[in-house]
Every structure is written in C-alpha cells, then in structure tokens.
Amino acid sequence: MFSNSYIFKYSAIMVILVAAILAGAALLLQPAQERNVKVEKIQDMLNSAHIESTTDNAEQLYEKYVVREIVIDENGEEVSVYKGGKFEKGDVRAFNIDLKSQLKVKQDAAQGKTKEKAVFPLFEVDFEGDTLYIIPLQGNGLWGPIWGNITLKRDMSTVEGVSFGHKGETPGLGAEIALPQFENSFLDKKVFDDKGEFQSISVVKGGVANSSIDPAHGVDAISGGTITSMGVNNMLKNNLSNYITYIKNHKK
C-alpha cells in the first residue's frame, strides 16, 4: 500500500525537517551553553584560589581579581600578556588556550612529529593586595580525564589551594580527589625546595610519613584510588614542569 517512491520521499522529507529543527535548536541555545562552560571554568579557577563565587557573579569576580593573563612558551618567555581588557603583548588570551591540545603539541614536538611550539596559560590574581598565581592542570585518571587548577602564593612555590575535577572516577575511591579532604591536604605544600629546585608535589601511596619524601613536597594518596592518585601525581609534575623556567626567572 506504500510504494517504494513514497517511502523514499517520506524519509527524505523527514530527515530534512528534523535536521532543520535540530540545527535551529542548537543555534538558539548555543550562547547560553557557551556561557555555562565559561562560568564553570572560571569557578574552578577561583575555587583553587579560595575565592567564593556563584554562577551569577563568577564573571565579575574574575574580571575584578584576575589582573593579568599570561601566556608562556616552553622556554619560559612571555608570549602574550592580557591586562585590563587589552593586550600588552601578543594576541592570545590565556583564558582561551585549550590546555589539552597544548600538552598534545608538547608531546608530539618531543617525538619530532610537529614543529609547532606549545604555549601554556598562567593567571595572575590580585586578591585584596595579595598576589597569587593560578596554573591550570590537565591529566588522566583511571577511567578518563582529570583536570584542575593549582594556585601558588606570591613566592610561586607555596600552594594556596587546589581544585580537582574528573570525568568519571570511581565514586568513593578515585572520585575523592575532588573532595575537600583531599584538596585541603595540598595547602602550604611547596613546589620548589629550599635550593630552588623543582620538586612538584608527590601523591604518595602508603602515606608521606612512611616514605622518603619530604612532607613539604608530598601528600597522602587515596586508599583504593591508587591509579587516580598516580594520575594526580603525574598531572602535577607534567603541568608544573612547563613553568619551571618562567618561575625561576620571575620569582620574587
């Protein structure tokens, strides 16, 4: 009762109609969605610097407290500086850098696959007279990506705070990295030792107290979340190492 040509016409019209509806919906809702992603990124950053924010005031607080957005290259040189709504140098905002793809570029460049140079974002915060530096982090956990921000104090070594996030680590085990108990264990740890050598902050299985690692450069891993803890450990080392030269040159 339905001919083949009817079936073809029916499906063609249906597909075009549905495509039009979906494209329309996507276009209409895109601004709101992009804003959500941006606000989330800002809130993660402000959390690591212990600045309280809500989804409504995050953008204002960001403009108020983040005084300089710096982009550095692998040699620790400032490629781009964005301050007070305009560029002092270069033309890339640190906020718009996709860290994940930059880490990929760095990896590819190390293997000689690309000639591109990776660049890394750094945010300078002026919070009530105190200078802080926010460094975004990106790495891998057990089941998927993990990410976060680490905020360093004026000396660019002592940790003011961290915030971690994850895509889907095991609840109750690996997912604990995003809980305050774990994040607070990073407070006042040091990324550089007294001689100014880079130490990163190790996440130690079995506890820092039972290991040879200086308590100033280590935190306890999560029981039952070993691979996620190692992921945090590697993420810190891998991301922070990109800033060593810059920090050595700019340390106050």
Partner: protein, 217 residues
C-alpha cells in the same frame, strides 16, 4: 441527523486510566521491567533523578503524540526508523535545553540523557500504543508512563540520597547530633547495586499488595 458521534470528554474515565495505570498496575519499571539501567544510574541524588524523570516524560509524551499524528502516513516497513528519528530528535532538543539552562544537573546526568533514545520505555510505548491510538490518548499514555517511571526514580533517589549522603536536594536532613553520636552515611547506597536492591524491594512490596500481578505459575 448530523453529528451522531458523541465527542468523548478530554478526561473521560478511560483517559484517566491511561494516566494512572502506569503509576501502579502497569508501571514501566516494576511491572513492565523497562528502563532499569537509567534508573540505576541517575538515582544517587534526588535532583538529577527528578530532571531525568521530567526529561523522559517530555520525550515519551511528545514522541507518542508525534508518532500518533503520523501513524497513518508511516510506511510499516520503515516505521522503526521513523520512530527512532522522532525520539532522537526530541532527546537531542531536551539535552541541548538542559545544557543551556541546568548545566550542573546535565553534567551529572552526562550520557544518560542521550541514552533516553535507547530507553525501552519510549520505543515500547510507541510500538504498543501510539501506532494504534489517537493523538490525545497517546499523549496521555506518554505522560502516564513517564510519571510511572519518574515515581520509581524519585522513591529510589530519596532513599539513596538520604541514607547515602544524609541530604535531600543537597540540604542536610540528618542532624549533626546523629553524626556526633556515631551515625555514619552508608556509602553502599551511593553505589549502583543498592539501586537494584531498592527496585527489587519496591517490586516485592508492590506485588505483596497486588495479588493479580503475581505469576500464577
């Protein structure tokens, strides 16, 4: 005589039954045993469970409505494809709206909104009901089944959030004095197996009240 056909009232007894039967005797989860996987995944907290329930209700109701309107034009040979296209389009629209207006909840629901497309409740209702009934009845049937699904989700989520995290909607319900006296949240409630156990308990409870749901054999 002109118009001999008596128009059926919008909420006749028959139509009301379409709405209420899925809440109990014809419940999609506990009786038809459809859509279990998403029921396990999104019920650790009450808020995502409610958003999921609303999303599924909207999708079932409107896909039922659309398919019922089209039912006489859909060639039987490609009817499953047509149904899937209708469902998929609605789910994508719902997903986009959630991402735009309740971003945090949409992150918690993650892939499960997309998986409404494969939720057996939706396809099941389209095949079993919308293809052979009028639009308004189909719409009500969709709402009813969505609510029946949502009811179980909410009941499970209340238990899981209350005992697993001591909160409801993120607000602390269990007083601090309980914790001081040695009470601890039961982490097992957060894990998916507990949802399965709770659904099992609900089915047991429902069948003990409703003898005609029990298999004769």
């Amino acid at each position: 005589m002109k118009d001999t056909k008596i128009k059926e009232p919008l909420f006749s007894a028959k139509n009301r039954k379409l709405l209420t039967a899925p809440l109990n005797k014809d419940n999609p989860i506990t009786v038809q045993v459809l859509g279990i996987c998403s029921a396990l995944a999104v019920t650790a907290k009450l808020e995502p469970a409610i958003v999921m329930a609303v999303s599924v209700t909207v999708v079932v109701a409107f896909s039922n409505l659309v398919v019922s309107l089209l039912r006489n034009t859909i060639p039987p040979r490609i009817r499953i494809i047509v149904q899937l296209v209708v469902i998929a389009a609605l789910v994508i629209v719902v997903d986009q709206i959630l991402k735009a207006y309740v971003y945090n909840v949409s992150k918690q629901l993650s892939v499960f909104v997309g998986l409404i497309i494969t939720n057996c409740i939706v396809m099941g209702r389209l095949e079993a009901f919308a293809m052979s009934h009028k639009p308004w009845e189909s719409f009500l049937d969709g709402i009813g089944n969505g609510l029946g699904y949502g009811l179980i989700l909410v009941v499970v989520a209340v238990f899981r959030e209350l005992f697993g995290s001591g909160t409801l909607f993120g607000y602390h319900i269990i007083p601090q004095s309980f914790y001081d006296a040695g009470y601890a949240n039961n982490g097992f409630f957060i894990l998916p197996p507990m949802a399965l156990i709770l659904v099992g308990l609900i089915i047991w409870f429902q069948r003990s009240k409703n003898a005609d749901l029990v298999d004769k054999s």
